[in-house]
């Protein structure tokens, strides 16, 4: 399968090779150590890459191969803007209260419905945003029912990480993969969503086994839930209508972006722009200041640091190693990437991880099929399962530990505020088995779909 002695150019280990490697190595170690905020490291590292001449500023800011991936940046900013405009309408409180009422105040039913709702919202919005919008209501409901809130918190984080995997816009790794591999929204729906629906079904069974019997309440407490009037949550009907209208158009835009020949970032910008245009006297200052600029600049810095090691040939060297280990067996490679990604993402942030893996995979593809280029290469039928394995591993791996995903960090912070901290060990007891379970399902899914039945 592998073209032996394919066109690998000689890697020159000169000064700039070692400089780029050092910036990359030191930056990533510092990010993992969490001693300095990751955004500060990324921005400083990126500046060094340019200042030391590893990349020219032109390359860092404008090169599609080596520089900042503005498709990712503008997609993230635009989606954050849309949420910032929607949040004050009260729609998220409405959905959460309504869900609890549909659950008739039954603690486990509510837990399950919240998991489904969280997964669904996460598929379209950022995971952390989803968790920040849903958990306050789940904590209120847990208080009303006088049940342990911890299962609700943990399940919210796990479900948001699972749901986020389902679509192109659900989780940053998918956004990055889609942009580099030129995959469109519908390809993610077609290839990943079925896996996530399956995983969600098994997840619901798993939480039924874990928490189903433990969560009990009294009938008079259920009445508290049924007395809540979800309509009171809606603060601005006119803005709500406009938001839902624009959100629907945006999602239709995502569905059609491949056919329209527009990048996802363009669709998201159209959505954000239209919603701003329709808002009456929008509070621009607060809408824009609530964009998570620290996260955005983290991405910008990372792209430049990675661009440096791509240019000097470190990625080239690493891809040779991976090809050497897997002997060009693509099924083995897909499985190794999936499981390695899962454990790597459970321990470190999956964003820098995927930012590194993308060019690595593209480089391997160049070596495997030296005669192909562009879309033909990126969408080589034998390469496709590797992209899906990377997405499944990197997104679902976040469930493994309390630090594996930003959503987990958020719920741990909340539990601390409640005075009942979810320790690293406590999260691990639930998160790790769920992660391994979802990885086993993903393995079977990828194996059957792409290596047995080929569809």
């Amino acid at each position: 399968m592998i073209a032996e002695g394919s066109a690998t150019q000689q890697i020159v280990m000169d000064k700039s090779f070692w400089a780029a490697t050092a910036v990359f190595g030191i930056s990533y170690s510092l990010i993992v150590s969490e001693r300095i905020h990751k955004t500060i490291i990324a921005i400083f590292g990126a500046a060094l890459v340019i200042a030391m001449g590893i990349l020219s500023q032109q390359e860092a800011f404008h090169s599609e191969e080596l520089g900042v991936d503005w498709n990712v940046i503008f997609l993230l900013i635009s989606m954050m803007l849309i949420v910032n405009i929607m949040r004050p309408t009260g729609i998220f409180e409405y959905i959460a209260i309504k869900s609890a009422k549909i659950g008739k105040g039954e603690p486990f039913k509510i837990l399950a419905i919240f998991a489904i709702v969280t997964a669904f919202i996460s598929a379209f919005l950022d995971n952390v945003t989803t968790v920040l919008l849903i958990t306050p209501v789940t904590l209120l409901i847990a208080d009303a029912l006088d049940v342990d809130p911890i299962p609700y918190l943990i399940s919210c984080a796990l479900a948001s990480n699972i749901g986020g995997t389902a679509t192109l816009i659900g989780d940053p790794p998918n956004i990055m993969i889609a942009s580099k591999a030129k995959l469109d929204f519908m390809e993610f729906i077609y290839h990943l969503t079925p896996a996530i629906i399956l995983i969600m079904a098994v997840y619901l069974l798993a939480i039924k086994l874990i928490w189903g019997k433990k969560l009990k309440t009294k009938d008079e407490l259920k009445a508290r839930i049924m007395k809540m009037n979800e309509k009171e949550a809606i603060k601005d009907y006119s803005m709500l209508g406009k938001s839902l209208f624009v959100l629907s158009i945006t999602i239709i835009g995502f569905i059609a972006h491949g056919m329209l020949g527009l990048e996802p970032a363009t669709i998201a910008m159209l959505g954000a722009g239209l919603l701003l245009l329709l808002s009456r006297k929008p509070n621009l200052h607060s809408i824009f200041s609530e964009v998570e600029w620290a996260t955005i600049f983290f991405f910008i810095g990372l792209f430049i640091i990675i661009g440096g090691i791509v240019k000097v040939g470190l990625i080239d060297l690493a891809s040779l190693k991976v090809l050497d280990i897997t002997k060009g067996n693509l099924f083995a490679m897909s499985m190794i990437i999936m499981w390695f990604s899962a454990f790597a993402s459970a321990i470190v942030d999956n964003i820098p991880y995927v930012a590194t893996m993308n060019p690595l995979i593209i480089d391997m593809a160049h070596k495997l099929w030296p005669n192909q280029a562009g879309i033909q290469l990126l969408h080589n039928p034998q390469l496709m399962p590797i992209w899906w394995s990377l997405a499944l591993g990197a997104c679902l791996g976040g469930n493994g530990t309390a630090i594996g995903a930003s959503a987990n960090v958020v719920i741990v912070g909340m539990s601390e505020k409640m005075g009942n901290k979810i320790t690293f060990a406590k999260f691990l007891i639930y998160g790790m088995p769920i992660m391994i379970l979802t990885m086993i399902i993903s393995t079977i899914y990828v194996w059957l779909r792409y290596y047995v039945f080929y569809f």
Binding site: P136, V137, D143, A144, E232, A233
Partner: protein, 157 residues
């Protein structure tokens, strides 16, 4: 006029390790001024006599509000008995966890404008007044300033 001239001398103080139960008894019974019983806020001093915070009625109210209700607008979905339940469980909480830690204080010689400036800019309704030794000697309330202002309007020198 200076802060010292219109402040209410403080007799009772709270300690950071006092329980909320003990603190509210003091808040309800302390003598403030000539006839007034009870206070809207008391200074909290550590073992070295250093001012570390103020516990006010508002802080006690804040202690009832679960943190998640601060994150979203959920007041419409609370229930009768919610506060009562939290209040019953809060008696043993410590003053240090509930008090307002950022304290703006004025010296006893501070002119009234300085007091008004601090109150408005920091959004507080009471200021501890610090004496020569650095100890808190009194409290200056919004009400005291209001009376001082109105006095000026009606009385010639």
């Amino acid at each position: 006029m200076r802060a010292e001239d219109i402040m209410i001398p403080v007799i009772d103080f709270l300690k950071p390790d006092d329980t909320l139960k003990k603190a509210v008894i003091l808040l309800r019974t302390t003598r403030s001024g000539e006839e007034c019983i009870g206070s809207k806020g008391l200074p909290v001093k550590d073992d070295f006599g250093k001012l570390v915070g103020i516990l006010s009625m508002r802080d006690v109210l804040k202690a009832m509000l679960p943190f998640y209700m601060d994150m979203l607008d959920l007041g419409d979905f609370s229930w009768e008995g919610m506060v009562e339940g939290i209040a019953k469980r809060s008696g043993e909480r410590l003053v240090r966890d509930i008090m307002s830690k950022v304290v703006v204080a004025v010296s006893k010689d501070a002119p009234l404008m300085e007091c008004i400036d601090h109150m408005l800019k920091h959004g507080v309704k009471r200021l501890p007044v610090i004496g020569e030794t650095g100890a808190v000697i009194g409290m200056l309330y919004e009400h005291n300033l209001f009376l001082a202002i109105t006095k000026e309007m009606f009385y010639e020198d």
